[in-house]
Protein backbone atom coordinates (compact mmCIF):
# COMPACT_ATOMS: atom_id res chain seq x y z
CA UNK A 1 0.00 0.00 0.00
CA UNK A 2 1.42 3.36 -1.06
CA UNK A 3 0.21 5.93 1.46
CA UNK A 4 1.41 8.98 -0.49
CA UNK A 5 -0.76 7.83 -3.35
CA UNK A 6 -3.80 7.81 -1.07
CA UNK A 7 -3.18 11.49 -0.37
CA UNK A 8 -2.96 12.17 -4.11
CA UNK A 9 -6.17 10.24 -4.74
CA UNK A 10 -8.18 11.83 -1.95
CA UNK A 11 -9.26 15.02 -3.82
CA UNK A 12 -10.23 12.92 -6.86
CA UNK A 13 -12.40 10.68 -4.71
CA UNK A 14 -13.89 13.71 -3.00
CA UNK A 15 -14.96 15.02 -6.42
CA UNK A 16 -16.42 11.68 -7.44
CA UNK A 17 -18.18 11.37 -4.10
CA UNK A 18 -19.75 14.79 -4.67
CA UNK A 19 -21.05 13.55 -8.03
CA UNK A 20 -22.63 10.55 -6.30
CA UNK A 21 -24.16 12.74 -3.57
CA UNK A 22 -25.71 15.02 -6.18
CA UNK A 23 -27.03 12.06 -8.15
CA UNK A 24 -28.48 10.53 -5.02
CA UNK A 25 -30.08 13.78 -3.90
CA UNK A 26 -31.68 14.68 -7.24
CA UNK A 27 -32.60 11.08 -7.91
CA UNK A 28 -34.44 10.79 -4.61
CA UNK A 29 -35.99 14.25 -5.05
CA UNK A 30 -37.23 13.46 -8.56
CA UNK A 31 -38.50 10.04 -7.50
CA UNK A 32 -40.52 11.48 -4.63
CA UNK A 33 -42.20 14.06 -6.89
CA UNK A 34 -42.88 11.61 -9.71
CA UNK A 35 -43.90 8.96 -7.18
CA UNK A 36 -46.36 11.29 -5.43
CA UNK A 37 -47.94 12.30 -8.76
CA UNK A 38 -48.25 8.70 -9.93
CA UNK A 39 -49.60 7.61 -6.55
CA UNK A 40 -52.30 10.32 -6.61
CA UNK A 41 -53.26 9.47 -10.19
CA UNK A 42 -53.64 5.85 -9.19
CA UNK A 43 -55.36 6.62 -5.91
CA UNK A 44 -57.99 8.84 -7.52
CA UNK A 45 -58.25 6.45 -10.51
CA UNK A 46 -57.96 9.27 -13.03
CA UNK A 47 -59.25 7.72 -16.29
CA UNK A 48 -56.65 6.76 -18.96
CA UNK A 49 -53.73 8.31 -17.02
CA UNK A 50 -54.27 5.65 -14.36
CA UNK A 51 -53.70 2.92 -16.96
CA UNK A 52 -50.57 4.62 -18.28
CA UNK A 53 -49.25 5.01 -14.74
CA UNK A 54 -49.91 1.33 -14.08
CA UNK A 55 -47.99 0.34 -17.21
CA UNK A 56 -45.12 2.62 -16.27
CA UNK A 57 -44.85 1.04 -12.83
CA UNK A 58 -44.74 -2.46 -14.32
CA UNK A 59 -42.00 -1.56 -16.80
CA UNK A 60 -39.90 0.35 -14.29
CA UNK A 61 -40.11 -2.39 -11.68
CA UNK A 62 -39.63 -5.38 -13.95
CA UNK A 63 -36.56 -4.34 -15.94
CA UNK A 64 -33.01 -3.78 -14.66
CA UNK A 65 -32.04 -0.17 -14.00
CA UNK A 66 -29.00 -0.73 -16.19
CA UNK A 67 -31.17 -1.26 -19.28
CA UNK A 68 -33.26 1.76 -18.36
CA UNK A 69 -30.14 3.93 -18.17
CA UNK A 70 -28.80 2.68 -21.50
CA UNK A 71 -32.18 3.24 -23.04
CA UNK A 72 -32.30 6.87 -21.96
CA UNK A 73 -28.68 7.48 -22.86
CA UNK A 74 -28.94 6.12 -26.39
CA UNK A 75 -32.61 6.75 -26.96
CA UNK A 76 -32.96 10.43 -26.04
CA UNK A 77 -30.49 11.67 -28.73
CA UNK A 78 -32.48 9.77 -31.37
CA UNK A 79 -35.59 11.82 -30.56
CA UNK A 80 -33.50 15.00 -30.60
CA UNK A 81 -32.96 15.49 -26.86
CA UNK A 82 -29.35 16.19 -26.01
CA UNK A 83 -28.59 15.26 -22.44
CA UNK A 84 -25.33 14.68 -20.61
CA UNK A 85 -24.58 11.40 -18.89
CA UNK A 86 -25.23 13.13 -15.59
CA UNK A 87 -28.67 14.38 -16.64
CA UNK A 88 -29.51 10.95 -18.05
CA UNK A 89 -28.47 9.35 -14.78
CA UNK A 90 -30.82 11.60 -12.82
CA UNK A 91 -33.62 10.94 -15.31
CA UNK A 92 -32.94 7.21 -15.06
CA UNK A 93 -32.95 7.20 -11.26
CA UNK A 94 -36.17 9.22 -11.29
CA UNK A 95 -37.80 6.82 -13.74
CA UNK A 96 -36.79 3.83 -11.62
CA UNK A 97 -37.40 5.37 -8.20
CA UNK A 98 -40.68 7.04 -9.18
CA UNK A 99 -42.34 3.65 -9.61
CA UNK A 100 -41.12 2.35 -6.25
CA UNK A 101 -42.03 5.59 -4.46
CA UNK A 102 -45.47 5.58 -6.10
CA UNK A 103 -46.21 2.13 -4.67
CA UNK A 104 -44.97 3.18 -1.23
CA UNK A 105 -47.00 6.39 -1.17
CA UNK A 106 -50.10 4.69 -2.54
CA UNK A 107 -50.02 2.07 0.20
CA UNK A 108 -49.86 4.97 2.66
CA UNK A 109 -52.83 6.72 1.05
CA UNK A 110 -54.85 3.52 1.08
CA UNK A 111 -54.18 3.06 4.78
CA UNK A 112 -56.11 6.25 5.57
CA UNK A 113 -59.68 5.15 6.24
CA UNK A 114 -62.83 6.52 4.64
CA UNK A 115 -64.10 7.85 7.98
CA UNK A 116 -61.20 10.27 8.16
CA UNK A 117 -62.36 11.98 4.96
CA UNK A 118 -65.91 12.22 6.21
CA UNK A 119 -64.80 13.52 9.59
CA UNK A 120 -62.68 16.16 7.88
CA UNK A 121 -65.59 17.13 5.63
CA UNK A 122 -67.95 17.44 8.60
CA UNK A 123 -65.43 19.74 10.28
CA UNK A 124 -65.72 21.96 7.21
CA UNK A 125 -62.23 21.36 5.84
CA UNK A 126 -61.81 21.99 2.14
CA UNK A 127 -60.45 19.22 -0.08
CA UNK A 128 -56.94 20.69 -0.12
CA UNK A 129 -57.04 21.15 3.65
CA UNK A 130 -58.21 17.57 4.12
CA UNK A 131 -55.33 16.35 1.99
CA UNK A 132 -52.72 18.58 3.61
CA UNK A 133 -53.77 18.39 7.25
CA UNK A 134 -55.42 14.99 7.62
CA UNK A 135 -54.60 12.53 4.87
CA UNK A 136 -50.99 13.25 3.92
CA UNK A 137 -49.49 13.27 7.44
CA UNK A 138 -51.05 9.88 8.20
CA UNK A 139 -50.24 8.45 4.78
CA UNK A 140 -46.60 9.54 5.09
CA UNK A 141 -46.24 7.98 8.52
CA UNK A 142 -47.45 4.65 7.11
CA UNK A 143 -45.36 4.95 3.94
CA UNK A 144 -42.17 6.13 5.62
CA UNK A 145 -40.45 2.75 6.18
CA UNK A 146 -41.01 1.86 2.52
CA UNK A 147 -39.83 5.32 1.44
CA UNK A 148 -36.60 5.09 3.43
CA UNK A 149 -35.97 1.61 2.04
CA UNK A 150 -36.38 3.11 -1.44
CA UNK A 151 -33.98 5.94 -0.64
CA UNK A 152 -31.31 3.43 0.31
CA UNK A 153 -32.09 1.38 -2.78
CA UNK A 154 -31.72 4.46 -5.01
CA UNK A 155 -28.43 5.54 -3.46
CA UNK A 156 -27.19 2.03 -4.05
CA UNK A 157 -28.33 2.17 -7.67
CA UNK A 158 -26.17 5.25 -8.30
CA UNK A 159 -23.20 2.87 -8.37
CA UNK A 160 -24.00 1.78 -11.94
CA UNK A 161 -23.97 5.18 -13.65
CA UNK A 162 -20.38 4.66 -14.85
CA UNK A 163 -21.91 2.67 -17.73
CA UNK A 164 -23.23 5.90 -19.24
CA UNK A 165 -19.96 7.81 -18.87
CA UNK A 166 -20.62 9.53 -15.55
CA UNK A 167 -17.40 9.76 -13.54
CA UNK A 168 -18.62 8.41 -10.22
CA UNK A 169 -16.68 6.44 -7.61
CA UNK A 170 -16.81 3.23 -9.66
CA UNK A 171 -15.63 4.92 -12.87
CA UNK A 172 -12.80 6.72 -11.06
CA UNK A 173 -11.67 3.46 -9.48
CA UNK A 174 -11.74 1.66 -12.82
CA UNK A 175 -9.78 4.50 -14.43
CA UNK A 176 -7.10 4.62 -11.75
CA UNK A 177 -6.63 0.87 -11.90
CA UNK A 178 -6.59 0.88 -15.70
CA UNK A 179 -4.04 3.69 -15.94
CA UNK A 180 -1.72 3.06 -12.99
CA UNK A 181 -2.40 -0.51 -11.81
CA UNK A 182 -2.88 0.81 -8.27
CA UNK A 183 -5.64 -1.61 -7.38
CA UNK A 184 -5.07 -1.75 -3.61
CA UNK A 185 -5.10 2.01 -3.19
CA UNK A 186 -8.03 2.58 -5.54
CA UNK A 187 -10.22 -0.11 -3.94
CA UNK A 188 -9.40 1.13 -0.44
CA UNK A 189 -10.41 4.67 -1.41
CA UNK A 190 -13.58 3.28 -3.03
CA UNK A 191 -14.58 1.50 0.17
CA UNK A 192 -13.75 4.51 2.36
CA UNK A 193 -15.73 6.84 0.09
CA UNK A 194 -18.80 4.63 0.19
CA UNK A 195 -18.54 4.28 3.96
CA UNK A 196 -18.38 8.08 4.30
CA UNK A 197 -21.51 8.33 2.18
CA UNK A 198 -23.58 5.40 3.40
CA UNK A 199 -22.98 5.31 7.16
CA UNK A 200 -24.53 8.73 7.85
CA UNK A 201 -27.37 7.96 5.45
CA UNK A 202 -28.10 4.68 7.18
CA UNK A 203 -27.94 6.16 10.69
CA UNK A 204 -29.91 9.26 9.70
CA UNK A 205 -32.74 7.34 8.08
CA UNK A 206 -32.95 4.98 11.05
CA UNK A 207 -33.27 7.95 13.41
CA UNK A 208 -35.93 9.55 11.20
CA UNK A 209 -37.94 6.34 11.19
CA UNK A 210 -37.75 6.04 14.98
CA UNK A 211 -38.97 9.60 15.41
CA UNK A 212 -41.90 9.07 13.09
CA UNK A 213 -42.88 5.86 14.79
CA UNK A 214 -42.92 7.64 18.12
CA UNK A 215 -44.93 10.43 16.48
CA UNK A 216 -47.83 8.20 15.50
CA UNK A 217 -47.73 5.91 18.52
Amino acid sequence: MNWDLLATYTPMYADALWVVVQLGFWGVFGSLILGALVALVRHWKVPVVDRIAGGYIEVARNTPSMVQLYFLYFGLPLIGVKASGFACAIAGLTFLGGAYMAEAIRSGLEAVREGQYRAAASLGLSQTQTMRLVVLPQALAVALPAITANVIFLIKETSIVSIIAVVDLMALTQNLIGMFYTSNEAYLMLVISYLVLLLPVSIGLRALERRFRRGIA
Binding site: T63, P64, S65, Y70, L78, I152
Partner: protein, 224 residues
Protein backbone atom coordinates in the same frame (compact mmCIF):
# COMPACT_ATOMS: atom_id res chain seq x y z
CA UNK B 1 -31.05 -4.93 -44.22
CA UNK B 2 -33.75 -4.44 -41.60
CA UNK B 3 -32.79 -4.05 -37.98
CA UNK B 4 -34.50 -7.15 -36.70
CA UNK B 5 -33.18 -9.23 -39.56
CA UNK B 6 -29.69 -8.02 -38.80
CA UNK B 7 -30.14 -8.75 -35.11
CA UNK B 8 -31.12 -12.31 -35.81
CA UNK B 9 -28.34 -12.91 -38.34
CA UNK B 10 -24.66 -13.49 -37.64
CA UNK B 11 -25.59 -15.70 -34.73
CA UNK B 12 -26.63 -12.63 -32.73
CA UNK B 13 -29.99 -14.09 -31.82
CA UNK B 14 -28.39 -17.31 -30.73
CA UNK B 15 -25.85 -15.46 -28.58
CA UNK B 16 -28.59 -13.44 -26.98
CA UNK B 17 -30.52 -16.58 -26.11
CA UNK B 18 -27.39 -18.02 -24.52
CA UNK B 19 -27.03 -14.81 -22.53
CA UNK B 20 -30.61 -15.11 -21.32
CA UNK B 21 -29.87 -18.70 -20.33
CA UNK B 22 -26.92 -17.50 -18.27
CA UNK B 23 -29.02 -14.81 -16.62
CA UNK B 24 -31.65 -17.35 -15.61
CA UNK B 25 -29.08 -19.88 -14.45
CA UNK B 26 -27.24 -17.41 -12.20
CA UNK B 27 -30.49 -15.95 -10.91
CA UNK B 28 -31.99 -19.34 -10.09
CA UNK B 29 -28.88 -20.73 -8.37
CA UNK B 30 -28.45 -17.53 -6.36
CA UNK B 31 -32.15 -17.43 -5.45
CA UNK B 32 -32.20 -21.07 -4.37
CA UNK B 33 -29.10 -20.61 -2.20
CA UNK B 34 -30.51 -17.35 -0.80
CA UNK B 35 -33.77 -19.00 0.16
CA UNK B 36 -32.08 -21.93 1.91
CA UNK B 37 -29.57 -19.76 3.76
CA UNK B 38 -32.15 -17.03 4.30
CA UNK B 39 -34.42 -19.40 6.24
CA UNK B 40 -31.57 -20.05 8.67
CA UNK B 41 -30.76 -16.36 8.81
CA UNK B 42 -34.41 -15.58 9.55
CA UNK B 43 -34.14 -17.59 12.77
CA UNK B 44 -30.98 -15.63 13.63
CA UNK B 45 -32.91 -12.38 13.17
CA UNK B 46 -35.81 -13.68 15.27
CA UNK B 47 -33.48 -15.14 17.90
CA UNK B 48 -34.06 -14.42 21.57
CA UNK B 49 -30.30 -14.02 22.08
CA UNK B 50 -29.53 -10.30 21.97
CA UNK B 51 -26.00 -10.68 20.59
CA UNK B 52 -27.04 -13.07 17.85
CA UNK B 53 -29.91 -10.81 16.87
CA UNK B 54 -27.65 -7.77 16.92
CA UNK B 55 -25.15 -9.49 14.65
CA UNK B 56 -27.98 -10.43 12.30
CA UNK B 57 -29.30 -6.87 12.14
CA UNK B 58 -25.81 -5.53 11.46
CA UNK B 59 -25.29 -8.01 8.64
CA UNK B 60 -28.68 -7.22 7.12
CA UNK B 61 -28.02 -3.49 7.29
CA UNK B 62 -24.67 -4.02 5.57
CA UNK B 63 -25.90 -6.10 2.62
CA UNK B 64 -28.90 -3.81 2.17
CA UNK B 65 -26.85 -0.67 1.82
CA UNK B 66 -23.58 -1.83 0.25
CA UNK B 67 -23.67 -1.39 -3.54
CA UNK B 68 -23.54 -4.83 -5.13
CA UNK B 69 -21.26 -3.67 -7.93
CA UNK B 70 -18.65 -2.64 -5.37
CA UNK B 71 -18.91 -6.00 -3.61
CA UNK B 72 -18.55 -7.84 -6.93
CA UNK B 73 -15.37 -5.93 -7.74
CA UNK B 74 -13.89 -6.34 -4.29
CA UNK B 75 -14.45 -10.08 -4.10
CA UNK B 76 -13.33 -10.67 -7.67
CA UNK B 77 -10.14 -8.70 -7.13
CA UNK B 78 -9.22 -9.77 -3.61
CA UNK B 79 -9.94 -13.44 -4.13
CA UNK B 80 -7.37 -13.62 -6.91
CA UNK B 81 -4.85 -10.90 -6.02
CA UNK B 82 -4.66 -11.23 -2.24
CA UNK B 83 -5.89 -14.71 -1.43
CA UNK B 84 -4.69 -16.44 -4.58
CA UNK B 85 -8.02 -18.17 -5.11
CA UNK B 86 -8.86 -18.98 -8.66
CA UNK B 87 -12.58 -18.25 -8.70
CA UNK B 88 -14.44 -17.46 -11.89
CA UNK B 89 -16.54 -14.38 -12.43
CA UNK B 90 -19.68 -16.54 -12.41
CA UNK B 91 -18.83 -17.97 -8.99
CA UNK B 92 -18.04 -14.47 -7.72
CA UNK B 93 -21.42 -13.26 -8.91
CA UNK B 94 -23.30 -16.17 -7.32
CA UNK B 95 -21.48 -15.71 -3.99
CA UNK B 96 -22.20 -11.98 -3.80
CA UNK B 97 -25.82 -12.30 -4.94
CA UNK B 98 -26.35 -15.05 -2.38
CA UNK B 99 -24.83 -13.00 0.45
CA UNK B 100 -27.26 -10.22 -0.43
CA UNK B 101 -30.27 -12.45 -1.15
CA UNK B 102 -29.88 -14.48 2.03
CA UNK B 103 -29.95 -11.26 4.05
CA UNK B 104 -33.07 -10.00 2.30
CA UNK B 105 -34.84 -13.34 2.52
CA UNK B 106 -33.88 -13.71 6.18
CA UNK B 107 -35.74 -10.50 6.91
CA UNK B 108 -38.80 -11.85 5.10
CA UNK B 109 -38.67 -15.06 7.15
CA UNK B 110 -38.30 -13.03 10.35
CA UNK B 111 -41.35 -10.99 9.37
CA UNK B 112 -43.39 -14.14 8.79
CA UNK B 113 -42.27 -15.77 12.03
CA UNK B 114 -43.08 -12.71 14.12
CA UNK B 115 -46.44 -12.23 12.40
CA UNK B 116 -47.68 -15.47 13.93
CA UNK B 117 -49.26 -14.51 17.25
CA UNK B 118 -47.82 -15.98 20.45
CA UNK B 119 -51.10 -17.64 21.39
CA UNK B 120 -50.69 -20.08 18.50
CA UNK B 121 -47.53 -21.42 20.11
CA UNK B 122 -49.30 -21.56 23.47
CA UNK B 123 -52.40 -23.31 22.15
CA UNK B 124 -50.23 -25.77 20.26
CA UNK B 125 -48.43 -26.68 23.45
CA UNK B 126 -51.69 -26.87 25.39
CA UNK B 127 -52.90 -29.43 22.88
CA UNK B 128 -49.84 -31.50 23.74
CA UNK B 129 -47.89 -30.97 20.53
CA UNK B 130 -44.16 -31.51 20.73
CA UNK B 131 -41.90 -28.71 19.53
CA UNK B 132 -41.29 -30.50 16.22
CA UNK B 133 -45.02 -31.10 15.74
CA UNK B 134 -45.82 -27.51 16.64
CA UNK B 135 -43.53 -26.21 13.91
CA UNK B 136 -44.43 -28.85 11.33
CA UNK B 137 -48.21 -28.65 11.76
CA UNK B 138 -48.89 -25.11 12.88
CA UNK B 139 -46.13 -22.58 12.38
CA UNK B 140 -44.46 -23.66 9.13
CA UNK B 141 -47.63 -24.09 7.01
CA UNK B 142 -48.76 -20.58 7.91
CA UNK B 143 -45.29 -19.10 7.43
CA UNK B 144 -44.93 -20.69 4.01
CA UNK B 145 -48.10 -19.00 2.85
CA UNK B 146 -46.79 -15.65 3.96
CA UNK B 147 -43.31 -16.22 2.56
CA UNK B 148 -44.04 -17.66 -0.89
CA UNK B 149 -45.01 -14.39 -2.62
CA UNK B 150 -41.92 -12.72 -1.18
CA UNK B 151 -39.76 -15.61 -2.36
CA UNK B 152 -41.09 -15.16 -5.89
CA UNK B 153 -40.40 -11.44 -5.69
CA UNK B 154 -36.86 -12.21 -4.58
CA UNK B 155 -36.35 -14.21 -7.77
CA UNK B 156 -37.46 -11.28 -9.93
CA UNK B 157 -35.14 -8.96 -8.02
CA UNK B 158 -32.37 -11.50 -8.51
CA UNK B 159 -33.00 -11.64 -12.27
CA UNK B 160 -32.72 -7.85 -12.46
CA UNK B 161 -29.64 -7.82 -10.24
CA UNK B 162 -27.80 -10.33 -12.43
CA UNK B 163 -27.45 -7.56 -15.02
CA UNK B 164 -24.77 -6.15 -12.70
CA UNK B 165 -22.47 -9.06 -13.38
CA UNK B 166 -21.77 -7.55 -16.79
CA UNK B 167 -19.43 -5.33 -14.72
CA UNK B 168 -17.21 -8.38 -14.23
CA UNK B 169 -17.77 -9.61 -17.81
CA UNK B 170 -20.04 -12.57 -17.21
CA UNK B 171 -21.53 -13.40 -20.61
CA UNK B 172 -25.15 -12.84 -19.57
CA UNK B 173 -27.90 -10.89 -21.36
CA UNK B 174 -26.51 -7.38 -20.74
CA UNK B 175 -22.95 -8.26 -21.74
CA UNK B 176 -24.07 -10.01 -24.92
CA UNK B 177 -26.23 -7.01 -25.79
CA UNK B 178 -23.26 -4.70 -25.37
CA UNK B 179 -21.06 -6.95 -27.48
CA UNK B 180 -23.59 -7.04 -30.31
CA UNK B 181 -23.76 -3.24 -30.24
CA UNK B 182 -20.01 -2.77 -30.26
CA UNK B 183 -19.64 -5.06 -33.27
CA UNK B 184 -22.45 -3.20 -35.03
CA UNK B 185 -20.80 0.15 -34.25
CA UNK B 186 -17.58 -0.97 -35.89
CA UNK B 187 -19.35 -1.35 -39.23
CA UNK B 188 -21.12 2.06 -38.99
CA UNK B 189 -24.09 0.57 -40.84
CA UNK B 190 -26.40 0.44 -37.87
CA UNK B 191 -26.63 3.70 -35.94
CA UNK B 192 -29.91 2.45 -34.49
CA UNK B 193 -28.21 -0.66 -33.08
CA UNK B 194 -28.13 0.42 -29.40
CA UNK B 195 -31.82 1.23 -29.39
CA UNK B 196 -32.85 -1.97 -31.16
CA UNK B 197 -30.66 -4.20 -29.02
CA UNK B 198 -31.60 -2.55 -25.74
CA UNK B 199 -35.27 -2.73 -26.67
CA UNK B 200 -34.92 -6.46 -27.21
CA UNK B 201 -32.95 -6.84 -23.97
CA UNK B 202 -35.53 -4.80 -22.07
CA UNK B 203 -38.39 -6.89 -23.40
CA UNK B 204 -36.46 -10.06 -22.55
CA UNK B 205 -36.00 -8.98 -18.92
CA UNK B 206 -39.59 -7.83 -18.70
CA UNK B 207 -40.84 -11.20 -19.93
CA UNK B 208 -38.70 -12.96 -17.33
CA UNK B 209 -39.76 -10.77 -14.40
CA UNK B 210 -43.30 -9.61 -15.03
CA UNK B 211 -45.10 -12.99 -14.99
CA UNK B 212 -43.37 -13.80 -11.71
CA UNK B 213 -44.30 -10.44 -10.20
CA UNK B 214 -47.89 -11.00 -11.30
CA UNK B 215 -48.00 -14.49 -9.83
CA UNK B 216 -46.63 -13.17 -6.53
CA UNK B 217 -49.34 -10.52 -6.39
CA UNK B 218 -52.02 -13.09 -7.14
CA UNK B 219 -50.81 -15.36 -4.36
CA UNK B 220 -50.64 -12.42 -1.99
CA UNK B 221 -54.26 -11.48 -2.56
CA UNK B 222 -55.63 -15.03 -2.56
CA UNK B 223 -53.66 -16.18 0.48
CA UNK B 224 -53.50 -12.80 2.24
Amino acid sequence: MGSLEWLLNWGNGEQLLKGIGYTLLIALISSALSIVLGIGFGFVLASKNRWLRGFGRGYLEFVRIAPIVVLLYLLYYFASAELGWNITNVTTAIVIFTLWGAGEFGDIVRGALSSIPAHQYESGRTLGLSNAQLYRLVIIPQSVRRITPAAINLITRMIKTTSLCSFISVAETMTIGRQIISVANQSFHHPEAPLVVYSVVMVAYFLMCWPLAKAARKLESSWG
